[in-house]
Amino acid sequence: MTRRFRATPYLFLLPAVALIGVFVVYPIIAVVYYSFTDYDIVRPPVWVGLDNYVQLFGDKTFWLALTHSFIYLIVTPILIILSIALAIVVNRKLRGIHIYRALYFVPAVSGSIAIGLSWRFLFDRTGFINSVLQSLGIIHDPIQWLSTPSLVLPIAMLLTIWAGIGYYSVIFLAGLQNIPEELYDAAVIDGCNDLQKHWHVSLPGLRPQIVFVGVISSLAALKVFDEIYVLTGTTGGVLDSGVTMVFYLWRQAFRLEHAGYAAAIAITLLAITLVFSMVNVRLLERQEADR
């Protein structure tokens, strides 16, 4: 390129780069620095080297939060399977199917706080779930769903799955509609039944969407916060049973004012996210190679 310097492309880019520079790039650099300091937001940071990381290593709650965040990743395969199933169902040409598609999308636009509040009361001691189970005679005494440590995380995950299926199935539906009809016809001629047809044609055809949803939903699972915040009434649950990485980060930084320590948690989260993204890039490359 032996072209003379032109300012135009840079002018087009200036607002975006300036905003992202100030509100994303600078904070990432700053948070790396803070992670090596003792910092309470009020007084200036004091350099402490690796102290935060050493402390993190011996912090039981941190390991618990890390475990919970990894457990939360189970939502990703479940979401992919259920969303594909739903996409296959709503891909049928049935009268009024548009209304159903719109209904399934409702949780995706309603906002996590509103949804979380409704779920919190569904699973309340005097909530709807207990009423139904008692009426059916399945349980005698109401269950304390959200005060039982082993149930908090599963309920939050169920909420994430419930709220996500409609959203992700739209992506899969678009993928399905791009698969040529002839492939299905060929499969039928080869003697495939309905299920085999989807196994041999739909799944390979949906590969880009599966990778995309896999990445998006697992990154979302790693940084889950709102659901936990509302379902546990800002506490993180009995015995920290619902504390995830971002929830712990939030508590350390903005409740306990341990900003330096929270920055170290943030860096750990970043490292995990980077590993995930690298795996994802490898998957994408393999996909390109297959073409």
């Binding site: 032109r6 135009t8 492309p9 840079y10 087009f12 880019l13 607002p15 975006a16 780069v17 905003l19 509100f23 994303v24 600078y26 904070p27 990432i28 948070v31 803070y34 709503v90 049928r92 049935l94 159903y100 719109a102 209904l103 399934y104 999308f105 636009v109 906002g111 706080i113 509103a114 949804i115 409704s118 009361f121 309340d124 005097t126 709807f128 207990n130 009423s131 139904v132 009426s135 419930w162 409609g166 739209v170 992506i171 539906l173 678009a174 993928g175 880009p208 969407q209 709102d226 915040y229 971002v246 939030w250 930084a253 903005f254 900003a259 943030a266 989260l269 970043l270 996210t273 993204s277």
Partner: protein, 309 residues
């Protein structure tokens, strides 16, 4: 299936040589049978669709019905009572009297409009040179933006908080929620995809005719990528409308809160008064649902277009 067909063909009177009337009768019967089977099959599909629709919509329906319940209607009972026996709007007046829900709305609208407007403008601008111009540093800028995509936003909240308090001095005001959201790498990426789809010949022809880059952008390209701009706008609007964590860190004065932050405050304020919380949730969910119904088509198209293989 095929086994059945073979068996049927062997039936006396239906096979070849049974006469034209019998043939016609048989084919009509076959068609009726097929239609019945299809109807039965469709009924099964509708049953699945409806069951899932109930699961999806029920929590909202339950909130709506509970918000209309008076003090005499039990929230939890065995068996559960869904329909209020003494419907009342008291819960709504109680919530409106103690929390400025209307102000929450106004704040959310102001934030969402600024954030959406700027995102559409800024990403449509940035995407043009990234997709269609050659200049020094293009790859570097593009990969830097792409890299910010994978960084969880929550990671940036500690430094952003300090910036808000010490540098911008906008803590506890709406600009604190608006400014950090004005541009997003994701939107730039989406718009770049749209610009890449525009044929180069079109741009070259305009340049030959003497149009400057800004005119090419505004008069040729913007009209073409408008559907993508709509998708970016709708996504950004809904995301901004529902954003919670960052606004909850910034907004503490009651009259300055956005809806999700106010809703969380409602939970603290009415703690176990479920009827009031149900009224609050209903009031916040209904408008965004109406908005969604209006823009549904573009929303779904945008989401589908975002992941083309």
């Amino acid at each position: 299936m095929s086994g059945l067909d073979v068996a049927r063909r062997d039936l006396p009177g239906v096979g070849p040589g049974a006469g034209p009337e019998a043939e016609a009768l048989a084919s009509r019967a076959r068609r009726a049978r097929r239609r019945r089977r299809r109807l039965a099959g469709n009924a099964a599909w509708y049953a699945i669709l409806t069951a899932f629709a109930i699961v999806t919509v029920f929590p909202f329906l339950w909130m709506l019905l509970s918000s209309l319940k008076g003090p005499l209607d039990p929230i939890a009972s065995v068996p559960p009572q869904l329909i209020p026996g003494h419907p009342t709007l008291d819960n709504y007046t109680r919530v409106l009297a103690s929390l400025p829900i209307v102000t929450f709305f106004q704040n959310s609208i102001v934030v969402a409009i600024f954030v959406t407007g700027f995102n559409v403008l800024v990403s449509t601008m940035a995407a043009y040179p990234l997709a269609k111009m050659r200049f020094r540093g293009r790859e570097a800028i593009f990969y830097l933006l792409l890299a910010t995509l994978i960084v969880p936003a929550q990671l940036t909240y500690i430094p952003s908080f300090i910036l808000a308090v010490n540098f911008f001095h906008y803590y506890d005001t709406l600009p604190a929620v608006i400014l950090p959201g004005l541009a997003s790498a994701f939107n730039i990426f989406l718009m770049r995809q749209a610009f890449r789809g525009v044929p180069n010949d079109l741009i070259d022809a305009a340049r030959v005719d003497g149009a400057g880059e800004w005119r090419v952008w505004w008069q040729i390209l913007v009209p073409i990528v408008r559907p993508s701009m709509a998708a970016v706008a709708i996504f950004t609007f809904v995301t901004s409308w529902n954003d919670f964590l960052w606004p909850s860190l910034m907004l503490h004065t009651r009259t300055g809160m956005t809806l999700p932050v106010g809703l969380a405050a409602l939970q603290g304020f009415f703690s176990s008064d479920f009827r009031a919380i149900a009224a609050g949730v209903t009031m916040t969910v209904v408008p965004i649902l109406l908005f969604f119904i209006v823009v549904q088509r573009w929303f779904v198209r945008g989401l589908a277009g975002a992941v083309k293989g």
